[in-house]
């Protein structure tokens, strides 16, 4: 220990640091803390990505699987059937083989066309699919009949799916698991920082430094927002890979500001958890207890209509529900900014209310 210090003062003119230098220093410190903590990093990126990959692979083919129907021969009705894209056609060389396959349950039905005669044979044992096929085929036959008369159809049915084509699992899994990942990072991040800083007396030390509480809070918020952006980029990039096949719709980038608002809402939850919990263990337990049920009930892992109606109503209290709704709308359902009005309103309101509550119960020390 040598004593070679210049006694000159290097304080800023006012005697206190500018807010921006404090802000930058704190944000940098926290960001370094984040990237150097392997466990946090793991739960922020690889862990939720793992779920995206697993779910993506499990449900990957489901959306694409239209009902398969055997066809024998060729003709205008079969051609029309093919154009309708309502069923998957599987050419089979003769009726006998096709019959065998239907009996074996490999395919629910087969169609043959021999001039004006269209034959449909189905397995009554598979009633749902059989009737679907029957309906589709008879529809096509009727259309062909009308076309053959050369008359304009009297009634027309304009049938279309609500979703963008078929909403393949990856289309809802990518935004869903992303919002779950963001909630983990933001809730755990803010809760554990508060608890750890209180336990290790960093909060008291900061209280003794000429730094405004809003600067400390703001720097932590900025780190969480940065992490959320990083998660967005990585998740979307992975989901876009051909193996997963995410297709983004027109104004997908509108999801970014929405995601940042969602991050703020999750952050405020974390602050509330951090205010109540004394130890890191308690805080991560509480954070899990909130994020996981919230993710399940908000449709992060499966479409929201898969849960009972009353639970769907209940799930409206979760910010993730609205984040998911909004992200699905703009990322895959091709909707525009107007679809975000409600989610934005809810997320902002949630953040303000929970944030104020957290500020009220905040403690500098135990």
């Amino acid at each position: 220990m040598t004593v070679t210090e210049t006694p000159k003062r290097e304080r800023a003119a006012s005697g206190t640091a500018s807010s921006s230098s404090s802000f930058r220093a704190l944000a940098t410190a926290m960001f370094k803390g984040f990237v150097r903590d392997k466990a946090t990093l793991f739960f922020t990126l690889p862990f939720p990505l793992m779920f995206l990959v697993i779910f993506g692979l499990i449900f990957g083919d489901q959306g694409a699987s239209r009902i398969e129907v055997g066809v024998v021969g060729d003709g205008p009705v079969i051609a029309a059937l093919e154009r309708s894209e309502a069923v998957e056609l599987k050419p089979i060389e003769n009726a006998a083989t096709a019959e065998e396959q239907v009996r074996a349950g490999d395919i629910p039905a087969y169609v043959t066309q021999d001039g004006g005669n269209v034959t449909l044979r189905f397995a009554a044992s598979d009633r749902t699919r059989a009737s679907t096929v029957q309906g589709i085929v008879s529809g096509v036959v009727n259309q062909a009949n009308i076309a053959a008369t050369g008359q304009a159809p009297r009634f027309t049915l304009d049938a279309g799916q609500v979703e963008d084509e078929s909403l393949q699992p990856i289309q809802y899994l990518a935004p869903g698991i992303l919002s779950w990942a963001v909630s983990i990072a933001a809730v755990f991040g803010s809760a554990l920082t508060v608890v750890n800083w209180r336990k290790k007396q960093v909060l008291r030390r900061l209280r003794l430094a000429p730094v405004r509480p809003v600067t400390v809070l703001g720097s932590r918020v900025v780190v969480s927002l940065g992490v959320a952006l990083l998660q967005f980029v990585v998740f979307v990039a992975v989901a876009l890979l051909p193996a997963f096949g995410l297709r983004l719709s027109g104004q997908w980038w509108l999801a970014i500001p929405l995601l940042l608002l969602g991050t703020l809402a999750f952050f405020s939850i974390g602050m509330l958890v951090g205010a109540f919990c004394k130890t890191e263990e308690a805080a991560s337990g509480a954070a899990n207890l909130i994020t996981l049920p919230m993710a399940f009930l908000s449709g992060a892992f499966f479409p929201i209509d898969a849960i009972p109606a009353w639970l769907q109503t209940v799930s409206n209290i979760f910010p993730m529900r609205h984040l998911n709704d909004g992200m699905l709308d703009v990322m895959v359902r091709g909707q525009g900014a107007e679809a975000l009005a409600l989610p934005v309103l809810v997320l902002v309101g949630f953040t303000v209310v929970v944030g104020l509550l957290a500020a009220k119960v905040f403690r500098w020390e135990d």
């Binding site: 040598t2 070679t4 803390g33 150097r36 030390r205 003794l208």
Partner: protein
């Protein structure tokens, strides 16, 4: 004519439930002074210090730091004070240098200062080591460096020399003296009475929430009017002869050594010299430890 006051604490009280942690404490620290608060565990040192820093609101009493009250959080005072808390407060996962840079930035200090501070506390070779991987003593020194990084006018150190090895402790003494030499005011707590005796201009001896005595170490010891102990090897002198020495007041033979108490060591020592029994002789004068014993009736246990 005393120098201007840096810190004035008057009659502060603070209870935790039934425990009266601080029970009517008053003291004043002058600018440029090195002031020590001594006392055993639970004496209330930390509590008193934290009230002085403005970290806690006293139940009663008042604090004036450079003429202003530090409570509620007084942001204009903060740049003038440097605080080392008893439990070291660090950011997660940052290296020694980064800790200093981060704390420094909160005060608008350039990052070059971090290097100087590392050198000051002898941690230059640990600059890139994560704080969690420092030894207890190194962490302690880093914590002190963080308290000094913005060149404060008054420094509060809560047991800065706890957990240091003897060498590091002495090095830190040099650092503290150097800080004082630059005109800073130092308020610190310690368990080491010997250390306080060496470093402090004035000390306050605290026990059970009260200040029992406050003065310069030399005057406290002098006022004690305690006996000097002359210690001889066992068998150097028979017990009766020792009792008969000029000025000998009390003689205790503990089987290993013979201890003669006296208030007039000079004639006693010359009598011993005449007998040629100076070999292995030790003279122990009163220390703050004896002052503590006298004040509390208890042996001091750091």
């Amino acid at each position: 004519m005393s120098p201007p006051s840096a810190l004035a604490v008057s009659d502060i009280r603070m209870s935790y439930g039934d425990v009266r942690a601080v029970d009517g404490v008053s003291f004043e620290v002058f600018q440029g002074e090195f002031f020590g608060i001594l006392g055993p565990n639970g004496a209330g040192k930390t509590t008193a210090l934290e009230i002085a820093e403005g970290l806690r609101k006293p139940d009663a009493g008042s604090v004036s730091l450079f003429g202003e009250s530090p409570w509620p959080r007084n942001i204009s005072l903060l740049p003038r004070m440097g605080v080392q808390l008893q439990a070291s407060a660090f950011f997660e996962k940052l290296t020694a240098r980064e800790q200093l840079e981060t704390f420094g930035a909160l005060y608008g200090v350039t990052s070059a200062r971090a290097g100087e501070m590392l050198e000051l506390v002898g941690l230059t070779d640990k600059a890139g080591t994560p704080e969690a991987k420092l030894s207890g003593g190194q962490r302690q020194r880093l914590s002190i460096a963080c308290a000094l990084v913005h060149d404060p006018d008054i420094v509060f150190l809560d047991e800065p020399t706890a957990a240091l090895d003897p060498q590091a402790r002495r090095n830190l003494w040099d650092v503290l003296r150097e800080i004082q030499a630059r005109g800073k005011t130092i308020v610190y707590t310690t368990h080491y009475l010997d250390e306080a005796e060496i470093l402090c201009d004035r000390v306050a001896i605290m026990d059970e929430g009260r200040i029992l005595a406050m003065d310069t170490p030399a005057r406290l010891v002098r006022d004690l009017d305690a006996a000097t102990h002359v210690i001889l090897e066992n068998g150097a002198l028979p017990h009766e002869q020792a009792r008969a020495l000029p000025g000998a007041e009390d003689v205790v033979d503990n089987g290993v050594s013979l201890t003669i108490s006296t208030h007039t060591p000079a004639p006693l020592l010359s009598a011993l010299a005449e007998r040629g029994t100076l070999d292995g002789l030790q003279v122990r004068t009163a220390t703050l430890e004896d002052v503590f014993l006298e004040l509390t009736g208890r042996e001091y246990r750091a």
